[in-house]
Symmetry: C2
Subunit: 204 residues, 2 copies
């Protein structure tokens, strides 16, 4: 959102900032335009609706997040170590938000999924694609983990990957509700149990 | 919301109906009053704000849900069978919503938790109490399960109960996102893994 960014980028950036804190329903186009310093008339030059802008916000957010997911999962070390690093990166985001703003903000994608899935079909469809990509990325790590003998072959599938993502989203929900990122300390031990990992949780 | 209900009860009922489908942010007091057939001037006779009404909605919702939770968990059978019945009741709600309205609505409490925790302190505080009560109820069942030898003593605590609730909320999120209640078929096998239950999942 520097001086050189375009109006369209500023709208996406402003909407993301506002949505992280407040979700979708209470936001108006006028407020997003004011935050982005873009005239309301220009908004509809770039986006047909608030829903269309929200899809662009999800795209921008996931484009940056995807790099993190792929980076952690394709890094050095055993497959479970890489998965642990990914989940540590996710929980780190919540810890930093608490330190910086005082509030555990939760996962923007999860927040929008629960708020909007029954209402805004384009948002729902895009979020479904993003979560499917996350599940496939985790599934890839589980296939590697099974090949390394760290988890049973039966836990290297889509259902186990969904369990891992569900545990992450559910624990982030509790951490947001309690505004307490230490709730997330249990995430990795729980994940090892879901995966029937050979190494039992160390209480880490 | 029958003919004999009072205006206050109608407001709570109308708000709950609207919030189940659309969350909180996009709802206005005028719309809630119209649905409840109550004049807007009367609204503030009963509730100081939309936030206060939302706390009343949560109270009414949890009062009815609590009876279900306690009933399932104090029923007949082994502790894990009772826990399985509770989770089956929760997933049954989502299946029925899909059949009746075409949409998996998700857990109203989880929806509100993710939408509002960083914004509405009274709603957050009440939701935290409700989730704490859920966690304590599950923890009680886990203590019984450990006494019966069905799970290790180390899984009969608060952290394991939080893992169970997290898995439930996370899977409901995915089911809502995909508008597909069959996602929840994996919930009980995952729960048994989280609890290190002696009986391994049967793929049920």
């Amino acid at each position: 959102m520097g001086r050189t960014s375009t109006a369209k980028e500023r709208l996406v950036g402003a909407a993301e900032e506002l949505m992280r804190g407040r979700g979708y329903g209470s936001l108006g186009v006028a407020e997003i335009c004011a935050r982005a310093d873009v005239r309301k008339g220009s908004f509809y030059h770039f986006f047909a609706s608030k829903q269309a802008l929200t899809v662009a916000v999800i795209d921008a957010y996931w484009d940056s997040q995807r790099a993190c997911w792929q980076g952690e999962l394709s890094g050095e070390g055993a497959a479970l170590e890489r998965l642990e690093r990914l989940l540590a990166a996710m929980t780190g985001v919540q810890r930093r938000a608490k330190e910086e703003s005082g509030a555990v903000e939760g996962c923007m994608l999860g927040n929008l999924a629960l708020e909007l899935s029954t209402q805004e079909p384009d948002v729902r469809a895009r979020l479904e694609e993003v979560f499917d990509e996350q599940i496939r990325l985790v599934e890839g790590a589980l296939v590697d983990a099974a090949a390394e003998g760290a988890i049973p072959a039966g836990r290297a599938g889509r259902e186990a990957a969904q369990a891992v993502i569900s545990q992450l989203e559910g624990m982030v929900l509790l951490a947001k509700l309690k505004n307490d990122p230490t709730v997330l300390d249990g995430l990795w031990p729980h994940t090892l149990l879901l995966l029937q990992a050979a190494d039992r949780p160390q209480g880490s």
